[in-house]
């Protein structure tokens, strides 16, 4: 009986597993294998060179810069998008006037294609007559700023676009969680004379724990995946100031046709993701019951 259930389960799983194996597990392994070879060019076939590609990578300043940029990008987009999403959800869920309109406004970035809005953001960031500069001049009398043409501000500009894109989507998850909290909990807390802040920290936030972890997983992935706007707006420039790991992979693989470099970079990215996954799942294990 038990073995029959096992056979059933495997039959049910086979279609999904075949695809997962073909497009997730196999490529993850194959990329490690390919990172040990040279790039085939013209009539020169790929040659096994062991770890040489990794040695080259250590000497590659663009790799280090992309890694560093990505670290900043992740460190900024993850907390910012989560905190903003939470604030949005609380507002939209509570008594702010016009919350239906606000909910719509917050959510629109999710349905707009990044590739399209990137061009609009390009206008916002245009020096002098761009929207951002027009507003800043109107409000504070600031001069023109070359937001994406200056290394100091370019990465920040990319971060803002990413947070803008993500926060509304995360808000929906928080909103669903907030609406599922029984009102009786709040009422009980109010009866006990708890302040609003206290209710938030002691009642609401702990109940949002699992949601936050779920959103965190998504935010972490997006910090390494969401590069559409970089492709459109800066192409990694100026001087690689906005080059992120996946963008560099794309550039190496499909602009330089250097598959060896692209594979090696992919392995590094996989290692980072694996490390982050391990950390997250250790936390998850403690917090939520998984099975």
């Amino acid at each position: 009986m038990r073995s029959r259930a096992t056979v059933h389960a495997w039959l049910l799983l086979t279609p999904a597993l075949v695809l997962l194996a073909a497009f997730t597990h196999w490529p993850a392994v194959a990329t490690i294998w390919h990172s040990l070879f040279t790039t085939p060019r013209g009539n020169r076939p790929a040659r096994f060179i062991g770890l040489e590609n990794y040695a080259d990578l250590l000497d590659d300043p663009i790799f280090w810069q992309s890694l560093w940029n990505n670290a900043i990008y992740a460190a900024a987009t993850i907390p910012l998008s989560i905190v903003i999403a939470l604030a949005m959800a609380l507002w939209v869920n509570a008594r702010i006037p016009g919350r239906t309109a606000l909910r719509m406004a917050y959510f629109t970035p999710t349905v707009l294609p990044m590739i399209a809005v990137a061009n609009l953001w390009l206008f916002f960031y245009t020096p002098d007559y761009g929207l951002l500069d027009q507003v800043l001049r109107g409000l504070f009398g600031f001069g023109a700023t070359n937001w994406i043409g200056t290394p100091e501000t370019a990465l920040g500009a990319m971060i803002v676009v990413a947070v803008w894109k993500e926060a509304g989507f995360f808000m929906i998850f928080y909103l669903a969680a907030l609406q599922a909290i029984p009102p009786s909990l709040h009422e009980a807390a109010i009866v006990e004379g708890a302040s609003r802040a206290r209710i938030f920290w002691r009642v609401t936030l702990p109940l949002l724990g699992p949601t936050t972890l779920f959103i965190l997983v998504n935010a972490v992935i997006n910090a390494f995946r969401l590069i559409d706007h970089v492709v459109v707006m800066t192409r990694g420039g100026p001087d690689n100031a906005t080059s992120l790991l996946l963008f560099y992979i794309y550039q190496a693989g499909f602009r330089f046709w250097d598959t060896a470099l692209a594979s090696t970079l992919t392995v590094v990215l996989l290692l980072i993701l694996a490390a982050l996954a391990a950390i997250q799942f250790l936390v998850l294990e403690k917090r939520v019951h998984y099975r």
Binding site: R41, G42, N43, I62, L122, T126, P127, D128, Y129, R137, G143, A144, N146, I148, G149, T150, P151, T234, R235, G237, P238, D239, N240, F254, R255, F256, W257, D258
Partner: protein, 432 residues
């Protein structure tokens, strides 16, 4: 089978592609030769229609040959698509790609030299402007046929010139005048600048515009074999210093990286009085500028000069003998004086042969719109666009360091030395 599917789906979408497929008699598609032609332009738009018309016209003249154009977007996208298709086993037979990608295509063992193909005669190839052929030939062979070619020119706002007390019909002739004019054209309101004197775009592919400056400073960026670059030459750093000084010392040029895509808009918005950009922008400026504008050759440094740019037609090894023959016929068809002239008139690109400029249509056009001839006049002084083996990365080494210098993170000499070191590393395997 394939044709039916495309025809049905295509009709739904009413793509120009399907339209040409429908126009072509089905018999030819099955019996004759079909060549796939990758073209670097966004689908739709005026250029697509021109290419469609050219393909149809060619098919009428040559029953039995069908040309299937594939519109692939920017030059970068088209090259990417072409090379990935090459590795995927379904490459195009003919493609219009950057002349600067010649070495990349040769290294990928993707293209054929035109000289060896049946039907190619020396006279045809000798008929193109030598300035355009520089980027099309190496090792004594011709790899690309010039077609959609351009150079950099200077556009200026005549109203702004008048307001600054300059003669609106005279462009700056040399580097010193360029600064002087720009100084008079830069308008400040307090700490803000309401109009910059000049703008040389530096996003994406700053090397191309920079090559204008280096050529004017009388220095070459690479050898004809594409195995050596001269980024480290002191004259290169000098040219870069001139560019940097426009923004930092003379303060007549916006600081930081100037976006290529928004530069024409800056010009229309009167945020800048003079801009360097491609001749391919001529039609765009003509349509959108609300003021009278001038077009001139770039100001001279030690000498006048500009790089050429734009696309050549390549023929791929994947083509079978019949397709190779068809490719030659097609390339010849596209570059007859009348068609090259009409193409130049319709698009703003530079007609590629002197003969084209002698046609009646072109003479009439230039008489009415003298700006069109500026690019041709500049060809005398034009040099080949930067192009080497491993072109994408050797160029990126220069681009990155140019951007670093222009954003104030590196000294000119140091930046160019770094670019040289990186390029040397990349080019070592090709020298032997």
């Amino acid at each position: 089978m394939k044709l039916t599917r495309r025809t049905i789906l295509g009709t739904l979408a009413a793509t120009p592609l399907a339209a040409s497929a429908l126009r072509a008699p089905a018999v030819h598609a099955q019996a004759g030769t079909e060549i796939v032609f990758n073209y670097p332009v966004a689908v739709g738009g005026p250029i697509t229609r021109l290419i469609d018309t050219l393909c149809t016209g060619f098919q009428q003249e040559n029953p039995g040959i069908r040309v299937r154009p594939v519109y692939a977007g920017s030059y970068q996208d088209t090259l990417t698509k072409t090379l990935t298709a090459l590795r995927g086993g379904e490459p195009p037979h003919v493609a219009c790609l950057l002349s600067a990608d010649m070495f990349t295509l040769i290294d990928e063992d993707a293209v054929l030299a035109w000289d060896d193909l049946p039907g190619v005669d020396r006279a045809w190839i000798a008929g193109f402007y030598p300035g355009f052929l520089e980027n099309s030939q190496t090792g004594g062979k011709t790899w690309g046929i010039p077609f959609q070619r351009s150079t950099i020119v200077l556009y200026w706002n005549k109203d702004a010139f008048r307001a600054a007390g300059l003669n609106p019909d005279v462009a700056p002739a040399n580097w010193a005048q360029q600064i002087e004019f720009a100084q008079r054209l830069t308008r400040r309101e307090g700490t803000n600048v309401s109009q910059w004197g000049i703008q040389i775009p530096s996003s994406g592919f700053p090397y191309w515009l920079f090559q204008g400056l280096t050529t004017q400073n009388d220095v070459r960026l690479m050898n004809p074999e594409g195995t050596q670059v001269f980024y480290g030459d002191p004259k290169v750093a000098e040219a870069l210093q001139y560019w940097m000084d426009l923004a930092t010392r003379h303060r007549v040029h916006p600081p930081g990286i100037v976006e290529w895509g928004t530069t024409p808009r800056d010009f229309f918005e009167k945020k800048v009085a003079m801009m360097w950009t491609t001749t391919g922008n001529l039609t765009n400026v003509r349509t959108n500028a609300s003021f009278p504008f001038g077009v001139g050759v770039l100001p001279a440094g030690r000498r006048p000069g500009s790089p050429t740019g734009g696309g050549n037609i390549y023929v791929f090894k994947a083509a079978n003998p019949a397709q190779r023959e068809a490719a030659v016929k097609f390339a010849k068809y596209l570059t007859t004086p009348e068609r090259a002239a009409q193409w130049g008139i319709d698009t703003g690109y530079v007609a590629v042969t002197p003969a084209a400029w002698e046609t009646q249509a072109m003479r009439t056009y230039v008489a009415g719109f003298p700006a069109a001839a500026v690019a041709r006049d500049q060809l005398r002084d034009a040099v080949a666009e930067l192009s080497t083996h491993d072109n994408q990365r050797v160029t990126k080494a220069l681009n990155d360091n140019l951007e670093a210098a222009l954003t104030g993170r590196k000294e000119a000499a140091r930046a160019m030395q770094d670019a040289q070191t990186e390029a040397d590393r990349l080019l070592r395997p090709f020298r032997r």
